[in-house]
Symmetry: C2
Subunit: 152 residues, 2 copies
């Protein structure tokens, strides 16, 4: 994965020499219309920088993990859930996902939501919520509306 | 430095709760008109994400170090020197600075150059070129022109 090419040009939100990885959707509808590009990953770097793009109306997986996410919105707008907070987010906003915190990103209907996400190169796998954990989240009306794609 | 505020809004290229640190200029003119904002730095993160802004006509320090730089241009345009390569760069381009490689970023005359830079949280201090090392760099006409702020 290490790419030491000094200069990689961008065409809009696609980068030279970087694969765009679509997430394979399955019947569980855990996420919708998300692509990923790994911008920086190198044995010498302890962090990785990835770019995710969520198509209009799409959403990332609702998950949690031990490692943190450090997010900068690069384009568009949407909402995020982090723990029990639902927030409208727009270009250049920063979002911090602390360890073991449920989180999800949703694009607005009208435009894609693109964001950079810095993580540790060495990190644990995401955990998905159980039915019980989802039920607990949904007890909060604000979170339930977010999960129905109807943020206030 | 750890800031676990979940959501920090941006106003243009200034972020809520983030100090903007001007670099103190001294008589050596090692850099010109550069500010820094540390966007993400946390004991749980092995990387740090900083935003640097170089005012029109300004430039970052010419330096090298053991740690790598992973750069994404967030606004504007300019030129960079990485090793012996001088490249025009513009918004969203990626620049990789390998270990122990001389590098410098220069903004064009007309607009600021803003870029994100991911580094390891644990890293060595930058080294400045000696007079001899500078002389060697300047033997390359392309690099000499870049250092005079007159990239081709």
């Amino acid at each position: 994965m290490a790419n030491r090419t000094v200069h990689r040009k961008a065409k809009e939100y696609r980068w030279e020499g970087v694969d765009e990885l679509p997430y394979k959707e399955d019947g569980r509808a855990l996420f919708k219309s998300v692509t990923r590009q790994v911008l920086f990953s190198d044995p010498e770097l302890r962090g990785e920088l990835r770019y995710f793009e969520v198509a209009p109306g799409g959403f990332s997986t609702l998950e949690r993990h031990r490692h943190m996410h450090a997010v900068l919105v690069l384009r568009g707008r949407g909402h995020c859930l982090v723990g029990t907070e639902v927030r409208p987010i727009e270009t250049r906003d920063l979002v911090t996902v602390p360890p073991m915190t449920w989180h999800q990103f949703r694009a607005t209907a009208g435009e894609p939501l693109g964001f950079l996400c810095m993580v540790n190169a060495a990190r644990d796998k995401p955990q998905l919520p159980s039915a019980d954990e989802l039920a607990v989240l949904r007890r909060d009306a604000k979170i339930a509306a977010f999960l129905r794609n109807e943020p206030a």
